[in-house]
């Protein structure tokens, strides 16, 4: 019976970006949601559970604070993972490690696994998170645990205690094989996550969730990264909708605009 650990992030939702008067991002006004590609990881965990036969645990480390203001969004993200098949969730939310850092997150994940006695056959994560997008936490976890690491998998098969995966690289697809346990990151292409059903959502609220604080976990490395500035990209697009009586007139006007902009030559 092999268990699966899925890493689930409550990420800043880029669609809720707001600017302060000075042009910096108003992070406090943004909401958190489950990072998109983590949905694929949860979906894949659910599929592979049928083969491994064990339980699915999720680990979430809050990186955006303050904790008191983020609790609702954090719970929503974890609830979604529970509704989609996770059996038990572990959550670390602590203002002392906020704003987070991949160094801190990875060390906390490893610390939580040790504290809770989790010895999964597979650790799954999304290839990147939608807010940070640095693709490094899973690789850090693999190195800390001394486990095989397979990144950017778009297909996973399990057989005879081994994992066979297709890594989706820039110029080629690499088929690899590794023994379990292993750490694997998945791409969006690996499956099509379906939204949870109402019944799944109702059941999720009864599943166990364990909230942890930093002082309970050993080996947490404090954040080293310093955010100096976070600024909204102010791309001012003209947003001109070209009107006209006929499509011919609209086409002519469009061509006129493009010539005037110097981007096409007739």
């Amino acid at each position: 019976m092999g268990d699966i650990v899925v890493l689930v992030k409550a990420a800043l939702n880029p669609e809720t970006i707001r600017s302060k008067p000075d042009g910096t991002v108003d992070i406090d006004a943004m909401s958190l949601k489950i990072s998109d590609i983590d949905r694929n990881a949860v979906e894949e965990a659910n599929r592979l559970r049928g083969i491994l036969g064990g339980k699915i645990y999720s680990i979430t480390v809050l990186t955006w604070g303050p904790v008191a203001k983020r609790t609702k969004d954090l719970n929503m993200a974890v609830q979604e993972a529970l509704a989609k098949g996770v059996d038990e969730a572990f959550i670390l939310a602590d203002d002392s490690i906020i704003p987070g850092d991949p160094i801190t997150t990875a060390s906390a994940i490893v610390g939580i696994m040790k504290k809770e006695g989790l010895n999964p056959d597979l650790i799954l994560a999304g290839e990147a998170t939608i807010d940070g997008f640095t693709s490094q936490v899973a690789g850090r976890v693999a190195a800390k645990l001394g486990l095989p690491y397979i990144s950017f998998a778009r297909k996973i098969e399990l057989k005879d205690g081994k994992i066979v995966a297709e890594r989706d690289l820039e110029d080629y697809v690499e088929k690899v094989e590794a023994p379990l346990p292993a750490v694997v990151t998945v791409t969006r292409e690996i499956n099509q996550p379906r939204p949870p059903t109402l019944l799944q959502i109702r059941r999720a609220s009864r599943k166990p969730q364990k909230k942890l604080t930093a002082s309970e976990i050993e080996g947490i490395v404090p954040p080293k990264r310093v955010f100096e500035d976070l600024r909204v990209i102010a791309v001012k697009r003209k947003q001109i909708i070209i009107e006209g009586e006929t499509l011919e007139e609209i086409a002519d006007k469009l061509i006129d605009y493009l010539v005037k902009e110097g981007v096409i030559q007739l």
Binding site: F133, Q136, V137, A143, T187, R231, A251, E261, I264
Partner: protein, 306 residues
């Protein structure tokens, strides 16, 4: 003096990383894959190149670890590629050192590296600093390759390690023969096209304008109407043409993230509430099946090709 170890997956990436960091002090290059094949060319930057005889990630990781321990660099640099992220995230985890990806405008001083990078799906720019030693993967093509001043050397490197993750086979991706990063004009297609055959409308427009063909995620990843090198967006190519024409593309945030550096964006979509219009300079609310033939005809007339 800051010591830099560049981890290069191809020759150009070595040149870009040396351009960003090479002038700081001593620089060494670990070359694997396509970079190892061009190790002599990289040595012309005037650096010592360790030419690794493998491009299997587990072996590259062991090689980086070995050189990191021997050289004790303050910065491990490279250009963001999937294998570099794979290998260097493990080095970062092993030694608990900071790592960033897609960085530019890097500055080094006072024991820190300061850099900018796109954040929040390319809607914001973050300025961050991390203490050294640190791993800094640059955004591709933000730096011109350094000058080749000659005088470097190549040393063959072999690491005796049995990879835990074994490579069974590699399959080259089908290429559509496009190079979107360099394109001046891109005609990009999305789900507004109902069948693969209908893309010929866009192809005709592209040919008239001397444009390359891009597409949104569903066209390449789900429907597979075009090869992945046409895919524009956060997981695809980030492009910076002077003209980007989005046809039948709704404008998902991940797609927008790939086109923000375009000079002029044109959107053609029959749904006037499509997100793409908020990110466009010029919008045409029309059925592409009706509008494209008219646009093509008008362009031909005005170009004297009718």
């Amino acid at each position: 003096m800051v010591k830099v170890l560049v981890v290069a997956h191809d020759e150009r990436s070595a040149g870009e990383a040396l351009s960003a960091f090479g002038s700081l002090g001593e620089a060494y290059v670990l070359a694997y894959g396509a970079a190892a094949a061009n190790a002599a060319g990289i040595a012309e930057y005037g650096v010592k190149v360790y030419k690794l005889d493998s491009d299997v990630t587990d072996v590259v990781f062991e090689a980086v670890k070995k050189l990191y321990e021997e050289l004790k660099p303050s910065i491990v640099a490279g250009v963001s590629s999937k294998n570099n992220k794979d290998v260097l995230s493990r080095l970062a985890g092993l030694y608990d050192i900071p790592m960033t990806t897609d960085a530019y405008d890097v500055e080094v001083g006072d024991g820190f590296v300061r850099y900018k990078r796109g954040a929040l799906s390319a809607r914001a720019v973050a300025t961050e600093k991390v203490p050294m030693p640190a791993i800094v993967l640059l955004a591709p093509r933000k730096y011109q390759p350094a000058e080749k001043k000659g005088g470097g050397s190549v040393e063959e490197l072999h690491v005796d390690v049995e990879p835990k993750v074994k490579v069974i086979e590699r399959q080259e991706k089908v290429r559509g023969g496009v190079n979107l990063e360099e394109a001046e004009i891109i005609v990009s297609v999305g789900r507004g096209f109902k069948k693969k055959e209908d893309l010929k409308l866009a192809f005709e427009l592209a040919e008239l304008l001397g444009a390359q063909i891009g597409c949104s995620r569903p066209i390449a990843a789900d429907l597979k109407w075009l090869s992945e090198d046409h895919w524009v967006g956060l997981s695809g190519k980030k492009v910076a043409p002077k003209l980007y024409i989005a046809i039948g593309i709704s404008g998902a945030p991940q797609h927008i993230a790939g086109i923000t550096d375009s000079k002029i964006i044109v959107a053609i979509n029959k749904d006037k509430s499509a997100q793409i219009f908020k990110h466009a300079d010029y919008g045409v609310v029309a059925d592409l099946y009706q509008f494209l033939p008219v646009l093509i005809k008008k362009l031909k007339e005005r170009m004297g090709k009718a």
